[in-house]
Amino acid sequence: MAEKLVIASSAKEAAALKNSKSAFLAGGTEDNRLNSTVDAKTLISIGRIADLDGITKKDGCIRIGAMTTFQEMLDSSLVPDYLKDACRFMGSRTKRNMATVGGNIALRRTDSYLYPTLIASHAVLELMDAKGEVSERCVCCYLKRYDELKDCLIVAVNVPQKASVVSKRYANTVQSHAVLTVSVGEVEGKIRVGVAAKNTALKSLCDISEALSQKDLSDDEIKKMIEADKDLRFESDIFGSPEYKRYLLAVTISDLAKKVKGGKR
């Protein structure tokens, strides 16, 4: 547990306070949870910053403030259905009242509810650095360059209003951590595959995405590409064997890609 709580009154104040010993406190469902992955002496509460709230529409894009909760996204008429599908992966209504989109992104958990969908829909983050300057990065870029971006405050996430994205989550029970969450999306003719593989990887499967953008792939072809991906070294754990996880990832990508390409939802 943290020793200090600071209630930030503005995004700039919050961003300026952030360092390696502190963490942003958004919804609290991870920071304050048993066995939390967040270890910080100081928590910077960003719950009262109006700039981080709100869902707006602009140029075919939906901008979602970082402190928007899962439930607020579900209740919004602006948030696209494909993202609502991902919000529903969080089984507990009470947790959905608390957990925020920004928090879920910042945590980068390998059982992330939202990442695969955000990757597949090519979502763009607005990040504020310690100086209060805001820049835009796509989620894949944020993941890749996390070390240099980790102290940035996530201000908002932008997702395309119209995109064909389908997602699938596998978990023991609805409240268990997911062994695998996969999304396949098509935005402006480009296929993207996002995957959250528990204890293994959280990433965009670029090679498979590229290949799927060009042509259809068989289960076996996808399986071979998964085996070739050095980030996808599955291990045996409480979630299952490597063979199971590899198999499941392959058939799921295959099935979701068919759905996206077939235009069905």
Binding site: L34, N172, V174, Y247
Partner: protein, 815 residues
């Protein structure tokens, strides 16, 4: 929610809450408000934690990081310096008394194989030391400063490892017998190992052999099974494996104890107040008159609170420190240091003929009792004694062995061995029907028992003594099977629009007991208060199941009193009389019957006193609503108020108090059948329970709405065991799933889309107003029903728990 809306809009409920039974009775068999409902739903003081006083000290237990180790030394000098520390308890300053934690009748069938603290730790999570301090923080800090020197030993975690030649021994100390010691005991004890092993003391022989890690064993046979196997049209043989699962009550184990006036008062969340008193007496050395157990409301029992897992140590801590002490398990402790369902390997061989007749059944059960022998004989016995008597089969044999291992401890768990035996037998029967090419339903109908069938198999299946061979009593089994088959359209193949999803159906016969005839014992004391109201002191332990409401309804029914004129005070060892407790599905049948006996006696006293006061003959008098005696001859009436007031006026005969004791040799067995329709995705292995119908004969359901909820709850729990829950241990015996999220407790989203509980109306000869037990039996059906349905859907038999997508994919050859 629907009820609330109806009342808000129309001022009253419109829908039927639950079906009613026994039109000739006023309150029994009718839905009606549970008497502890208002206290519980409104959040008033009800549970142990609500009674903790501000001066209370906290106790935290230091637990072993090793699955097996001797303790060489413990250095608590730094820990004792922490401000606020009152006392630190270890094996070096606590009694050497050997006892066991299972809450069973005395003499217990479980071996006395542990002390408060042992010098050999036998599982990750075993007690090493306990810190009592003025604050929780100080207790935790002191715990972290205790230095323990361990001599780590090799460990065993499965029955296969435990039975292997040369396997490390979980217990290797001196063996003693309170009765029935074998002639060669001295010779046997010469092989005992390090003195730190402690002792294993049997109250009577369990056919154990600790030098082979065998904690208990038993076998028996009727007819000739080998002969049957040799002369049948088909034989199937398979092994069914169940996993280690935990009860996960919402209220984790907790206890508050304090010394007052030289007496030890223990607030306990328990199913067995009188066993708690006995065992706390053993460890403290206090006689029973110096111990007061107050059973509060219980926030979930399921068998885990049948065992004295925290009251022994908390009671002892309050006794030696003289301070009020509170201890509250963390959720992790609940998994690793509490009790769990015994993992079992059930091997079944079953033979049958083309006409569907089952000719022979052999069950070999290997059970894992963990590091201590809580319920080690009786749980595995139940896997045979509550399953084999479902079959009209002349040739049956069982052979069970129970092994000590270094897993987290096992103990009582709702169903008590039966869910595992039922899983093995029903799956094997379905496999046999499949092999013979006949319909499973036809095979069930041909082979199930019916009323009057003599149960020879029970002879060897008493709990440590010879069992009673009795005929089958009231039995709604046939009706449950036929009705369930109609409801689920048995025989009709369902087809999904998605070709990856295959749909199948399955069902299982189930039975249980209603307490333990010849072993269980219940008492109640009914008092007519001076204003004509009644207080019933019941020894029974209501653990949320509605037992107190059952007792109140019994009083209301017999004395024709309104419910609000009756108070039930239960589970308080000072004011109530002895009861073995709420386990083995005994509550309604035993404690309920004691309430019947006491109340009928009170009624007789009322009539006798009224005859005196009214100047009438007893045979002319009866009682009637709203609590008065009336004369059938003269039409005169006398209210209970006047009657009791006069009796207690200074010149009367005194207060009318009746004491009822109930014991019996009679057995009232509940029966039923549980049906499942599942969809299996043959591409991803996912399993969905689309339909689940639970049909049960509970005799007269005294509280029908509560009974139905008990069935829904138990079914959900058993769906959890079947598909989701698993305590996974690593190679060192550490539980990797010791929290709610990783363990896999099913949520409402895992509930069947179509979920029905149906009460089969059968009146029982021996139960109170014809009632039998309801909830334990409801844990038995899900695993075989779902397992059989999975086979029907996609052709594979999943022979171990939990039935996961990965296992389905492996069985289908996809991975």
């Amino acid at each position: 929610m629907k009820l609330a809306l109806e009342k808000m809009k129309g001022g009253c409920y419109k829908s039927e809450i639950a079906p009613s039974f026994r039109p000739e009775l006023e309150v029994i068999g009718k839905p009606g408000a549970k008497i502890d409902g208002p206290q519980l739903v409104s959040g008033e003081r009800a549970f142990v934690e609500d009674y903790v006083t501000p001066d209370t000290c906290y106790m935290v237990v230091l637990r072993s990081p090793h699955a097996s180790a001797y303790i060489n030394s413990i250095d608590d000098s730094e820990a004792r310096k922490v401000e606020g520390v009152i006392e630190i308890l270890t094996a070096y300053n606590t009694p050497e008394t050997h006892y066991m934690q299972a809450g069973q009748g005395n003499p217990e069938p479980s071996p006395h194989d542990r002390r408060l603290f042992n010098l050999k730790v036998r599982h990750v999570g075993d007690r090493v030391a306990a810190v009592i301090a003025e604050t929780l923080e100080a207790a935790k800090e002191a715990c972290s400063k205790i230095k323990v020197d361990y001599e780590v030993l090799p460990a065993v975690f499965t029955v296969e490892e435990a039975m292997a030649p040369g396997a490390p021994l979980v217990h290797n100390g001196i063996v003693e017998y309170r009765s029935g010691a074998p002639a060669d005991l001295d010779e046997y004890n010469k092989k005992a190992g390090d003195p730190r092993e402690g002792k294993v003391i049997y109250q009577f022989p369990l056919h154990a052999d600790i030098h082979k890690n065998i904690a208990a064993s038993n076998k028996g046979e009727i007819g000739n099974v080998d002969e049957a196997f040799a002369h049948s049209d088909a034989v199937v043989e398979a092994t069914y494996q169940t996993s280690q699962i935990q009860h996960t009550p919402l209220e984790t184990h907790l206890c508050f104890a304090k010394m007052e006036g030289g007496r030890l008062t223990v607030y306990a969340s328990t199913q067995v107040p009188y066993h708690v008193r006995r065992i706390v007496g053993w460890v403290t050395g206090l006689p029973e008159n110096k111990i007061h157990i107050i059973k509060t409301r219980v926030g979930g029992g399921y068998g885990s609170k049948q065992d004295i897992l925290i009251e022994d140590l908390t009671g002892y801590a309050a006794f030696v420190t003289g301070r009020p002490v509170f201890c509250h398990n963390t959720r992790e402790e609940e998994f690793i240091a509490n009790s769990t369902r015994h993992p079992m390997r059930v091997h079944v061989k079953m033979s049958g003929n083309k006409d569907g007749q089952i000719t022979g059944i052999f069950m070999e059960v290997c059970a894992n009792t963990g590091p201590y022998g809580n319920h080690c004989l009786t749980v595995p016995m139940n896997s045979c004694s509550k399953t084999l008597p479902l079959f009209k089969c002349d040739n049956m044999r069982y052979d069970l062995k129970v092994y000590y291992t270094n897993t987290p401890p096992a103990g009582a768990y709702q169903g008590y061995g039966t869910p595992k035996g039922t899983y093995g037998l029903m799956m094997a029967m379905a496999e046999l029907a499949d092999k013979l090419g006949i319909d499973y339903k036809d095979m069930v109908l041909k082979n199930h028992v019916e009323e009057g069938y003599m149960l020879e198999i029970l002879k060897g299946l008493g709990e440590g003594r010879e069992g009673n061979v009795v005929p089958v009593g009231s039995c709604g089994l046939d009706e449950a099977v036929r009705k369930g088959c109609d409801m689920i359209n048995w025989g009709k193949k369902e087809v999904s629009s998605d070709p990856d999803w295959k749909i199948g159906k399955g069902f299982a016969m189930i039975m249980q007991g209603s307490g333990l005839p010849g072993l269980d014992h219940s008492e109640a004391i009914a008092k007519l208060e001076t204003d004509g109201t009644v207080i019933l002191n019941s020894g029974g332990a209501d653990i949320g199941t509605g037992l107190d409401t059952i007792s109140a309804k019994i009083v209301a029914e017999i004395l024709k009193l309104p419910m609000d004129r009756i108070t039930v005070n239960s589970g308080d060892t000072d004011s109530c009389a002895f009861d073995t407790g709420a386990y083995a599905s005994s509550g309604t049948f035993f404690s309920g019957n004691a309430s019947v006996v006491a109340t009928r006696k009170l009624k007789d006293m009322i009539i006798k006193e009224a005859a005196f006061q009214m100047g009438e003959k007893e045979e002319d008098l009866d009682v009637r609503a709203p609590g008065e005696v009336y004369s059938k001859k003269t039409g005169k009436t006398l209210s209970y108020y006047e009657l009791s007031h006069t009796a207690c006026s200074g010149t009367g005969h005194g207060q009318m108090i009746a004491h009822g004791t109930f014991t019996t040799a009679a057995s009232s067995v509940p029966y039923g059948a549980h049906f499942a329709q599942v969809a299996v995705n043959t591409r991803t292995g996912e399993i969905k329970v689309q339909k689940f119908y639970a049909l049960q004969d509970a005799g007269t359901p005294i509280n029908p709405e509560v009974a139905l909820c008990q069935m829904y709850g138990a079914v959900m729990k058993s769906i959890g065991h079947t598909l989701h829950e698993d305590m996974i241990l690593d190679k060192k015996g550490r539980c990797l799933t010791a929290n709610m999220t990783d363990y896999g407790v099913p949520m409402i989203s895992e509930a069947p889309e179509d979920f029905k509980a149906v009460l089969i109306d059968v009146n029982d000869e021996f139960g109170p107003f014809g009632a039998k037990s309801i909830s334990e039996i409801a844990c038995n059906g899900a695993a075989p029903a779902i397992g059989i349905a999975i086979h029907d859907a996609c052709g594979v038999w999943i022979r171990n728990w939990p039935m996961t997508p990965e296992k389905v994919l492996k069985a289908l050859g996809k991975i």
